[in-house]
Subunit: 93 residues, 10 copies
C-alpha cells in the first residue's frame, strides 16, 4: 500500500450554473465518502479559512491515486498537489 | 481539542559534534514517541526523498502546540510551518 | 481561548451586480461589527494602499474561527491567510 | 500617531558566544518591555512554531519606528518586514 | 511629515468601455497633478517597459496616504505596494 | 510497479575533505549504477549547466524509493524533489 | 541528437466549444503518437493529480523542438517549460 | 541623462574585522556623498526596518551606473536591483 | 548608446477578433523589422516552447526604449521585463 | 548549430585564497575569450549592478554547451540558468 499527502484548493467559477454547482458538490461528497468508507481516503481535513482540504490517501499505487483524483467531480475546478509519504522512523504505530 | 498540520524540515549543521548530533536525534525520537503515546501527536509521516516530516497534532490549544514545538530537541535546526485544521464536511468519521 | 492572525485580501469581481455588491459589503460590515462587539474579533486594521485587512481573532477554537470566516459575506471574493498566535515571552500584559 | 504591523523572524547564529547570546536576549526583552510600557509597542505575539513575532507599533512617525527597530539588540540577527496600517472602516473602536 | 515609496502596476480590463477608460485616465492625471502641486506626491516616474509607476509621497500620516491611494480613479485596476521610508544617514540634503 | 520523477541538485560543501569528496562521489556512482542495472533507476540525465540530474525511478513502492534516496552517498549534500508519475493516455508503449 | 525535458501544464478554457475541445484533444493525441512512433518524443508521463505531462524529446535541434511544440494542437492552452539535458556521467547505457 | 531606481540590501558578514567594517562603512558614506554632491545620486532613502536603501541615480548611461555601483565599497556585501525609469506622462515638473 | 536586455511574453486574449489579431501581429512584425533595420533592435530570438522573445535593444536612452516598447502593437498583451546591460570585461569585441 | 541564452551569477566565497581567486578569474577570462574567438560564445554582457552576465552560446549541441559550462573555472561559484533559443519569425537577419 502507498500513502500520499494531497492538498486540494477548490475554485469553482462564479458563473457556473447554480444547479450544476450544487449537484457537483453533492457528487463530490458522495464520491469522497465512498472512498473513505473503502479505506482508500482515510483522512480529510478542512484548512481553516480556505475552501481547501488536506487529505491522506492509502492506495495500491500512484496509478490508482491518479485515477481517483482525475475522477473527482470537482477536478476541473481544483488545484491539486501530491506528495508521497513513507513511514517515519519515530512512528510508534 | 484543536488539530494542527505541521511540516518540519530538518537541517542539522554539518559541523555539529557527532555525539551531540546522535544524542539530539535520540532525544527527539523519545520526545516525539512520548507525545504520540499521549495522543497529542497522532500522526507523523516522512516525506519521500526529504529529511522532513508531516505531522498532525491534537492539542488543547495553539499555546500548547507552541510549547511542544519550541521544546523539540531539533527545534534549532528545523523550519516549521503550522496550519490550523478543522473537520471537513465530507468526513465520515 | 485561541488567538489567530488573519489577513484578508478582497477582490470583488467587476461584473458583480452593483446592488448585490453594496448589499454584500454592508452585510460584511454588520457581521464584522457584531463579532467585534462580542469580543471574537478584537482587532481589524486596513493595510495602507490595499483593499485588505489584518485582523486578530480571539476564539474558543480553530473550528469556531473557520465557522466565522466561512460565513463572511465576502468570503467568496477573499483570499484568507490564517496564522496561529501564542503569548510572547516579552509581553508585559 | 502612526500604526505599523511588523513581523520579526529571529535567526541567532549558532556560533554566537552563549553569554553574548543570553545577554542580547535579555537586553532585547528589557528594551521591548520598556517600549511596551511607554505605549509605543502595544502588541507583541509569538507565531506558533517559529522564533518569530508579530508586533504592532504605535509611533509618532516612520522615522521613530526605524529608530526603534534599528536599535533592537537582536536587529543584526532578524529579518524585519514593516507594513503601514490605517483605521478600518468597520472598526467599532 | 512621512515619506512613502509606492509602486503602482496598472491593469485596466480590456472590456472597460473606451469612454469610461479615457475619462478615468484623464481623472487620474488631474488627481495626480493636483497632489503633485500640493507637494503631497513629490515624485512620479514611469518604469521602462511597463504600465507602472514608482512614486514618492510626502504626507502627514499613513492614514492620509491611504486616503489618497484609495481615491485614485484607477485604484480598482491597480496593484499597489507601499514601503515606509526614512532619512538615510548618508543623505547630504 | 511505481514510477517517480526525481530531481537532485547537488551542493557539496567547499570545505569537505577532498579525499572524502572523491570517495563519496565514487560511491554515489557505484550505487547509482547498481540500481540502474537492477532496473530500479532506469533513467538519469544531467541538466545542462547545472550539477543536477533528472532521474526516473521504477520501484515497488514509495517506501522503497525513500530507502534508495535516503541512502544515496551524496544525500546530505542534495536537495531532492519527488513527483509521482503515471501512464499517459497518449503513450504508445 | 539533442535531448530535452519538457513539462506541459494544460489549461483548456471552460467556455471552449465542447466539439472543438474534443477534436483538439483527439488531434493532440494523434500528433503526439505520430511523433512518439517517429522516435522524436520517446517518453511521455502523466503527473499524478494534474492535467500535466513530463515528456522527453529526442530531436535534431532546439529549432526542431520549437517547431514541434509550437504546432501542438493544445499549444494555446498550455504552459510549457523546456530544459536541455545531456548524458549523465553515471549513466550505464 | 538617464534615471535609474536602485535598491541595495546590505548584508555585512558577522566575522568581518570590526576595523575593516568601520572603515568600509565610512568609505561608503564618503563615496555616496561625493556622488550626491556631483548630482549623480540625487536621492537616497533608508527603508524602514531594514539595512537597505532606495536610491535614484541620474547618470549619463547605464555604463556609468555600473561603474559607480561596482565601485561601492560595500558592493561585495550588497544585493543590488536596478530598474530603468523614464518621465511619467503625469509628472508636472 | 545604451544596451538593454528585454524579455517579452505574449498572451493575446482568446476572444480578440481574429482579424484584429492577425492585423496586430502583422503590424508588430513590421514595426519590429523597421527597428531592426534601423539598428535599434539588433537581436531578437524566440524562447523554445514559448510565445516569448528575448531581445537586445541598442538605443540612445532608456526614454527612447520606453517609447519603443510602449508603442509595440502587442504591448497591451505582453508582459515585458527590462534589464540594463553594460560591456563585460572579458568581451573580445 | 544551436543557440542558448545563459545567465551566470557569480558568487565567489569571501574566504577563497586571494591568489587562487585572482588566478581563477584570470583563467575564466582566458577561457571565455578563447571560446569567443572560436565563435562558440558570440555574446557576453554584464548585467548592470550585478556580478552576473548574460551570454549567448552558439554550439553544435546541448552536450557541447554543458561541456563548456562545466569546465568554466568559476563554475563551482556560479549559479547558471540555460534557455534554448530559436530563430524568431520577425528576425530580419
Amino acid at each position: 500500500m502507498a500513502l500520499f499527502h494531497v492538498r486540494m484548493d477548490v475554485n469553482i467559477p462564479r458563473d457556473l450554473d447554480p444547479e450544476v454547482r450544487a449537484e457537483t458538490i453533492a457528487k463530490e461528497k458522495a464520491y469522497s465518502q465512498e472512498l473513505q468508507r473503502a479505506g482508500k481516503w482515510p483522512e480529510i481535513w478542512r484548512i481553516v479559512g480556505k475552501y481547501s482540504n488536506i487529505s491522506i490517501f492509502d492506495v495500491d499505487s500512484a496509478d490508482e491515486l491518479h485515477e481517483i483524483l482525475f475522477n473527482l467531480p470537482l477536478f476541473p475546478y481544483m488545484d491539486i498537489e501530491v506528495m508521497a509519504l513513507t513511514k517515519h522512523g519515530s512512528d510508534v504505530k
